[in-house]
């Protein structure tokens, strides 16, 4: 532990423990936050960061331990209570009313009785001006970019008089350039004497912005260190508990014939806007193409068109030598060899209330051997499930357990087992490792790599540039419905991709 003699800690946690049925989410966590510093809280998914944030923000009560604010023990009963004591949160997913204006959102609960939205505007402008937070109070929130919504949340905390700002994975929705802008604001807040708690699992960012770093693993604090003492390798070892290689995982690919050819593809989003404006690319057998980009630039629409969930407006798609029928539905495309690992594994990829066995049948429930004519075959359904659960090492109490009771990693394995069990020609993988722990992530990566050796082509959509750079052969960026690239992965860097993601030219 680092002792700081120069100042009293503003906030101090002592031995915080929080248990949930079956898990200890926080196990005796102690840490300090000093005035005018950025403390990074680093840890993998599931390390207990979110639980700790929820405790600080009054959403959960700790089972054991104490929270001291300026040396005095406090109870934090609710988010508004937290804010009254000077603790503000900038949540990962903004808690804003999309249809209301920025001013209406910020006036909620704290503005005046009459004309609340009108009267709060000068206050907003004052605070925004002081910290260089550029926002338009009249803009409807749903028109704002993720970065702008974050700024609204920061202003809300400052309006409430926050001295401590918790930023929960703020960069997960930002491009590298937008993240840099956020860091500038954070530095400004720090020099104004605010304390910031920066939650992240991205090592570069933690090293770039923080003064001190506290690392969590499996609910426990494993170390707290000054940024000067930290390095990427050291932090990752602390975070994971063993040293992790940052090398490319990809061995020499075996490239074959083109599997997927896309020319001039155009499609509209669900709201009727142009989402894909003429996309061209070719994907060969055995190849992995990474598609990077900030969410909402056409990635969903591209995958939906290729998986048959969305009609294309114009253009031409050839799959395994056959031209894709414009109206082909997902079942027909699966028949043609398109496997789809969807972004939302719980709401799209599985039916949480149905059993693992039934979920494993979702693609072939109406074909032999799972069905004969109009009827399903319960025995074959079980046999199919048992085989797949074993092959993919799905940890489930039974094949009859509702899939919703499984962990995220095991749900993803159920999906992989179902989608990849045949010999897919094209695998559409969307954020396939999002929210998974390192072990499950490695398994997902390994399965994808193995399938390419068997001749499958993979279209990998990810916001994680590390993942893309370590797995793919080709990289492309979607920006405003236009595909930049593909480029050979060797010619791409984080910086060049980041620039393309914001519409810049390399």
């Amino acid at each position: 532990m680092i002792a700081r003699i120069m100042a009293e800690p503003l906030l101090s946690l002592q031995g915080i423990t929080k248990r949930f049925p079956g898990v200890v989410a926080n196990d005796g966590v102690s840490l300090e936050v000093y005035p005018g510093e950025v403390l990074a809280l680093l840890g993998e998914n599931g390390a207990g960061k979110s639980t700790l944030v929820s405790i600080l923000y009054g959403l959960y009560r700790p089972d054991e331990g104490e929270i001291l604010l300026e040396g005095r023990p406090v109870q934090i009963a609710s988010p508004s209570h937290a804010l009254r004591q000077g603790i503000g949160l900038v949540p990962q997913h903004p808690m804003l009313v999309g249809r209301h204006s920025v001013a209406e959102n910020l006036a909620l609960g704290i503005g005046s009785k009459l004309f609340p939205a009108q009267r709060i505007v000068p206050l907003i402008e004052k605070i925004a001006g002081a910290y260089g937070l550029n926002i338009d109070p009249q803009a409807p929130v749903h028109t704002l970019s993720p970065g702008e919504k974050q700024r609204v949340e920061i202003v809300r905390s400052l309006l409430g008089g926050a001295r401590i700002l918790i930023l929960d994975e703020p960069t997960s929705v930002l491009t590298p350039q937008e993240a840099e802008a956020l860091f500038k604001v954070m530095r400004g807040l720090r020099s104004a004497g605010k304390s910031l708690i920066f939650i992240s699992h991205k090592l570069e960012e933690v090293l770039a912005i923080s003064d001190r770093i506290t690392v969590l693993r499996r609910g426990k604090v494993v170390d707290s260190l000054l940024v000067a003492q930290a390095s990427k390798a050291r932090l990752s070892e602390l975070m994971v508990g063993r040293s992790v290689s940052f090398d490319r995982k990809r061995s020499q690919p075996k490239l074959g014939q083109p599997v997927l050819q896309v020319r001039g593809l155009k499609a509209r989003s669900s709201r009727g806007l142009e989402a894909l404006r003429g996309v061209d690319f070719t994907l060969r057998s055995g190849e992995i193409l990474g598609v990077a980009g900030v969410a909402g630039n056409g990635q969903s629409e591209l995958v939906e068109v290729l998986s048959g969930l969305r009609p294309m407006e114009s253009g031409w798609v050839e799959l395994g030598g056959k031209t894709k029928n414009i109206r082909a539905n997902p079942a027909e495309l699966f028949e043609m060899g398109v496997a789809h690992i969807p972004e939302d594994r719980i709401h799209m990829g599985t039916v949480p209330s149905m059993s693992v066995a039934e979920n494993l049948a979702l693609r072939q429930y109406n074909q032999p051997p799972l069905a004969h004519g109009w009827f399903t075959d319960a025995q074959q359904l079980e046999a199919n499930a048992k085989a797949k659960v074993q092959e993919y090492a799905v940890a489930t109490p039974s094949i009859h357990t509702p899939s919703g009771l499984l962990s995220g990693g095991n749900i993803q394995k159920v999906i992989l087992a179902r989608e990849l069990s045949g010999i897919p020609k094209l695998i559409l993988a969307v954020h396939p490792t999002y929210g998974l722990d390192i072990g499950a992530t490695e398994q997902v990566h390994q399965v994808l790599l193995d399938k390419t050796l068997q001749g499958a082509a993979v279209l990998l959509v990810s916001e994680d540039l590390e993942e893309i750079l370590s797995l793919c052969d080709q990289v492309a960026v979607l920006y405003h419905g236009e595909l930049k690239g593909p480029f050979a992965v060797e010619s791409a860097t984080r910086e060049s991709l980041g620039l393309l993601m914001t519409g810049g030219v390399v």
């Binding site: 988010p79 808690m95 009313v97 999309g98 209406e104 909620l108 609960g109 009785k113 009459l114």
Partner: protein, 284 residues
């Protein structure tokens, strides 16, 4: 000219209970709670108002009771659908059955004895329009309205500000019930001052459909309600030329037509985001 004025007058008279009940539903739905119990709350309010006025001879006391009983009936919906987070649609439907059943049962004693001196209708009509404007003012110009609208859009955002979502929804649902009770009172104390089982005649359902049709906007509800009133009146005038059953069918068919038109115009895009969804902290 006089003919036209009389037609419009009738349209307003008939549109008033629809407007009153729809204003209540607008407020409840703006807070994210669908209440399909309007018809039942209206019937209970109508009976309570009539029974009180009949036994005490005090019309204003009757009016008060109608409003109170309407709110009380709504409290059942608030308890089941807001506090206990049951399916709002089923709960409202059950409330309608309960309200129609209880009012039909207890109203037996009051059948066939009309009020001798009914309440004048003009005050109700003017009052309803003023109320609509008042609801608009509260919704769009005050903190109360801001909180209410936010609860209907994103209850989580209100919860983190330390405002109780459950409390706001309760109050909105109670207001909706009071308005339905007021609409019922207008029917039984003024419009046709007697008690008959089924006096609400589907007006509650029309109020629910109207809420969607006017895009959850209180001022547009004024025009919508009077438009429905006009249609009713015209149907009434057609009696004799068309079998009366078809005229009686008309309001119900109109609801379906109106809902389909609203859907065609993508009006449902204007629905509060969290409409119909129970709120539980930490769940979205």
């Amino acid at each position: 000219m006089n003919e036209l004025l009389s037609v419009l007058g009738q349209a307003v008279a008939f549109g008033t209970p629809i407007l009153l009940a729809a204003l209540g539903e607008v407020v409840a739905e703006r807070a994210g709670v669908v209440n399909l119990g309007v018809e039942g709350m209206m019937a209970l309010g109508a009976l309570a108002a009539f029974a009180t006025a009949q036994t005490t001879g005090n019309l204003l006391l009757g009016l008060l009771m109608g409003v109170l009983v309407g709110a009380l009936a709504a409290a059942i919906h608030a308890l089941v659908a807001v506090t206990l987070r049951a399916n709002q649609f089923v709960s409202g439907l059950a409330l309608t059955a309960l309200g129609l059943g209880v009012s039909g049962l207890l109203g037996q004693h009051f059948v066939g004895s009309p009020l001798l001196e009914p309440l004048p209708g003009a005050e109700f009509r003017i009052g309803a329009v003023l109320l609509a404007i008042g609801v608009w003012g509260v919704l769009y110009l005050t903190q109360t309205g801001l909180i209410l609208r936010s609860v209907g859009e994103n209850p989580g955002a209100v919860d983190v500000m330390g405002i109780s979502v459950v409390r706001v929804r309760w109050l909105a649902v109670l207001f909706g019930g009071a308005m339905a009770g007021l609409a019922g009172s207008y029917l039984s104390l003024s419009y046709r001052p007697a008690w008959v089982d089924g006096t609400t005649a589907g007006l509650g359902w029309i109020a629910v459909a109207l809420t969607i049709f006017v895009g959850w906007h209180p001022v547009r509800a004024i025009l919508g309600a009077f438009f429905f009133g006009l249609l009713y009146h015209l149907a009434f005038r057609l009696q004799g030329r068309v079998p009366s059953e078809f005229l009686l069918m008309l309001p119900y068919l109109l609801v379906v037509v109106v809902l389909s038109l609203a859907a065609l115009r993508r009006q449902q895009g204007a629905a509060p985001e969290a409409l119909g969804l129970p709120y539980k902290r930490g769940e979205r």
